[in-house]
Symmetry: C2
Amino acid sequence: MNDDQYSSYSFLLDRTAKRVKQYAQQRFTELGFNVTVDQWIVLKHLYEHDSMKQNELAEFLFKDNPTLTRIIDLLCDKGLTVRNVHPTDRRSFMVSLTKEGTKKVEQLSPKIKAIRLKAWEGLSERDFNQFKRILDTIYKNLG
Amino acid sequence: MNDDQYSSYSFLLDRTAKRVKQYAQQRFTELGFNVTVDQWIVLKHLYEHDSMKQNELAEFLFKDNPTLTRIIDLLCDKGLTVRNVHPTDRRSFMVSLTKEGTKKVEQLSPKIKAIRLKAWEGLSERDFNQFKRILDTIYKNLG
DNA sequence: TAATAACTATTAGTATAACAACTATTTCTA
DNA sequence: TAGAAATAGTTGTTATACTAATAGTTATTA
């Protein structure tokens, strides 16, 4: 691997990740979902895992605590999540969906799946495996 | 490609792009480069293309005008770039490196190349081609 | 040529990302 | 068990991303 190619790697990765997020956000806004992409990711994981500590949620989503705190703040303001006290650890909160939050996830899920799939048109199972292997290698190289 | 795999794609892409940037930024800070990754990208392109309109620079780097305005502001504050009036269009600025900016690029270039290459350890020429093809496909699917 | 449209850069506001510092708690350990 | 260390969450600060709005300039067109 010669040096000059690297900039391509980095450039392509950054550019594509940016566009994937940008595309999803534009559809979200256009369709009046009233959540950001990052807020959606939090909602989805809460739906799948019921109630979680902010801590665990942050680790799961590769976000740091301050970032997650602020996302949860916004979701609580919107009435989609609530913070409940942890049964045994008074430092922690258990975050969960409100009834409205649950409804939102169920309403949006299929629409968002469709939006997300658009990116992968023309790509195969085999491409997925290559893609995963390469990204995982990069991830581990820097870990 | 079934639906459930998509989330893997999106997740892996986002996670890896984030770590690539984070890793580079940590090395930059650690080594006292005193520029952010995005500021570096601007410096590097100015080095390679001499003087550019903010406009063109933004398009080239996939950044929007407000974002670029602020990056240039910071670089000017640091004495690494200057805004010069455009010869024929008084709306525009031609941005270029100062002597100090040029020196900075020349000093940091080899170090940054080394930092960047770390991500690609264990990956081949062939991997690059796969990677590029897949990312380009995604990029175009959403364009 | 006068009015309108388009363009360039900036500013303002909100959201996310990363880091440091802080409070309140819990766990460790000597 | 008292003191130290670790942990959970928040707040503050800086940088970037995106949208909208604005000022100043240039281009269009009627």
